[in-house]
Symmetry: C2
Subunit: 434 residues, 2 copies
């Protein structure tokens, strides 16, 4: 049977992984599909034959993405450029030429996903975006097809490999955030400007996509509360371990009586939960369903070849659809607030909290802090203090019984004015029920 022809735009990390798999795994791909995937054209800003694996050398090589999109044989355009600039133009052009699209672009899909899907449906093309979130984990296939009959009640994820690497290294070696970050930057695991990773914005884009898919609700980045990991210190892991917990940057989307509560923030999770076993640069997604109960998905969150697997699997699916004459017909994204899963403020959530203080020790400190908690109707659960040599900058921890995030914020705000505090209290939710 005749091949389906693919055009690749972008030969960076993901693009080169995609090309390698298309070349090396061509026979097995053909066996699974019943026809071959052929790379008809490739574009990158400085395209060289040595970037093209043996077996794909006959493809058109160009530095102008328009030549790929306009190529008469190309049926599927793989947009592997990233970002919200030229990538958007490439997708626009492909749609208007009636060519199907595979994209690895989480920023673009998180910001314009619903509009892009709509235009794809009107143009009767296929669109696939598995590679845009969680690299090697086929979470889009899972949410859109695998468990589509379920009604998701909660989704928890570890979605940023860099942050997870930094936290697990801090935990293992007891070294401070800044030192581990610097090392991660040296090793190429973290960017020179690490903000997108360590301040939670990358994870937020991913949660926008996963929550939209899981709940069928319109989700925008501003619906999601974000807090990064910069304030976590090795002593927080010591205290967390005393409580039989650890600390991870947790992306959470939960249906509650108040509505859908969305957050990306460091949280305490029990050491006994399977999420606590997600170490290093791995990603994981935990889905709770009304009917299917717990399912859990784990894999490489990024990387050239794991993300390449997602792109190639998407190319295969879209090629099958093209052969079947089956365009996309229903967007996985909602345009309107459907109401059932309306996002609400994280301040409505009820959780136990971990409050960590650094104080200049003097009599009456605990009484003062406990008094503020009591004035907000927050019940104290435990007070923990690791041995410490100094009276200045003395750390200790108070855990409180489940209460609203708003009460905790009010208490933290009032405490922040106390002159014996070295810094504002660090408040982390405890996801004890995971």
């Amino acid at each position: 049977m005749e091949a389906v022809n693919v055009g690749i735009v972008g030969l960076g990390n993901v693009g080169s992984g995609t090309m390698a798999i298309l070349a090396e795994n061509a026979d097995q791909i053909a066996l699974k599909l019943g026809f071959r995937l052929n790379v008809a054209a490739v574009c990158s800003p400085s395209v060289h034959s040595r970037q093209i694996p043996a077996g794909l050398q006959r493809s058109l090589k160009t530095t102008d993405w328009r030549e790929v999109v306009d190529h008469p044989e190309v049926q599927i355009v793989a947009e592997l450029v990233g970002g919200t600039g030229v990538a958007g133009e490439i997708i626009d052009a492909a749609i208007s030429r009636g060519k199907s699209i595979v994209t690895a672009n989480k920023e673009l899909m998180a910001s314009c996903g619903p509009e892009i899907w709509d235009r794809a449906i009107r143009a009767k093309i296929n669109l696939a975006m598995e590679a845009s979130v969680c690299g090697g984990i086929p979470i889009h296939a899972v949410l859109r097809e695998g468990i589509s009959g379920d009604r998701v009640t909660a989704l928890y994820g570890i979605l940023n490999g860099t942050s997870n690497y930094i936290l697990t290294e801090m935990e293992k070696r007891g070294e401070p955030f800044a030192a581990v970050l610097a090392e991660a930057q040296m090793l190429g695991y973290a960017e020179t400007d690490p903000s997108a990773d360590v301040d939670g914005f990358d994870a937020r884009s991913k949660l926008v996509l996963l929550a939209a898919l899981a709940f069928g609700e319109k989700i925008t980045p501003s619906d999601i509360f974000v807090e990064g990991i910069r304030r976590i210190s090795p002593m927080d892991f010591q205290y967390a371990h005393q409580l039989r917990h650890t600390i991870r940057l947790i992306c959470a989307a939960r249906q509650t009586q108040e509505g859908l509560i969305l957050s990306v923030r460091p949280a305490l999770i029990p050491l006994s939960t399977i999420l606590a076993g997600v170490n290093g640069a791995y990603n994981a997604v935990w889905v709770k369903g009304m009917y299917g109960e717990d399912t859990f998905y784990y894999g490489r969150g990024a990387g050239s070849r794991p993300t390449g697997v997602a792109v190639v699997s998407d190319l295969m699916r879209v090629a099958r659809e093209i052969r079947n004459g089956s365009p996309e017909r229903v967007s996985p994204f909602a345009h309107e607030r459907l109401g059932e899963y309306k996002p609400v403020s994280v301040t409505l959530q009820k959780r136990a909290y971990y409050l960590r203080f650094r104080v200049d020790d003097r009599p009456g400190i605990l009484a003062k802090l406990a008094g503020i908690l009591a004035s907000k109707h927050i019940s104290l659960e435990a007070v923990l203090q690791e041995p410490c040599e100094t009276k200045h900058d003395l750390p200790f921890v108070i855990t409180v019984e489940p209460t609203s995030e708003q009460s905790v914020r009010d208490a933290v705000e009032e405490m922040s004015h106390l002159d014996f505090l070295r810094e504002a209290p660090l408040a982390l939710p405890m996801e004890t029920a995971l």
Copy 2:
């Protein structure tokens, strides 16, 4: 848009979960599909209105499955009867009437899957079988679509919930196999005849399906070495913990230099691996890919509603395909041995092994056992002995360095004739590299 009509045959555990979800989740299903799923006919040996959820009462109720298959409105037949008898007839009849099929039948698919898929393809219908393996885990969607671009090199699974429940309870409470099994039977977690579960045959059927999907190779039950969990005792967990391992019934399919090695057997796995965190009746599948590296999938292995989610998700996928006019065109099963992943005997595998002995103590025992190991060119790694009060029935463990399964079998066979042994040595592979 007009509904797609479904006929349900079988209102047992899976059928009733399926019906409940189709009724309760009807609106969200319609939202995701763009049209409704309607239950036009239902069959069970003693069909009562009270088995039918509110909202589905208008469906035809019959005790004759032919009425469901012949029903002029039914477009998809859900075969939820199980077994290889009448289920096969139902599927035959549906195919010959050009109706699409969703099945939860692992026995039938493991024994006749390739033939059934072939006939479905020739009849231009759709066929889906997510519910046939790993209940609530969408592993079929993952292997067939989600990571289809990858080349799987190994697959490890915990695929039998009953065995896993028994092993984790033995581990937790230190109670013997027979006692935990009896309790599981009383609680309804194990069948009166537990053989299919505890002797590994149920897990073997599942591994036939998963390995066929993962490797694209023809796999039959006789390709898979099976050993059950009856010989595992609480002391084995004590020794395993000393080695920082635990014991689980591991289904393994691994590509090696010798070929594809398939087994279902109790094995030692490191406590640090994420598989060791799979407790109770949960199932899990770990896939290693040449490009995507490790991915891991976890969820309920059985149960009315988790398996119902798989059936409903399949009904949704097939309904979409019917709307698209997209019949199945390539079987996920191979008919011929393709060669690349040819199954070979487990005796070729190289592993470290755990050998556990029960002896009547006397001088010279270790020398004798070590002599036999040496004669098979097997290197001893460690000797472990827990404190024990009796000289009769004294347990101890020898671990050996990686060697071939054949050598270990030869050694065990020779040891079995020694008069100081209370029973033949128990030999378990150590999956240390997981």
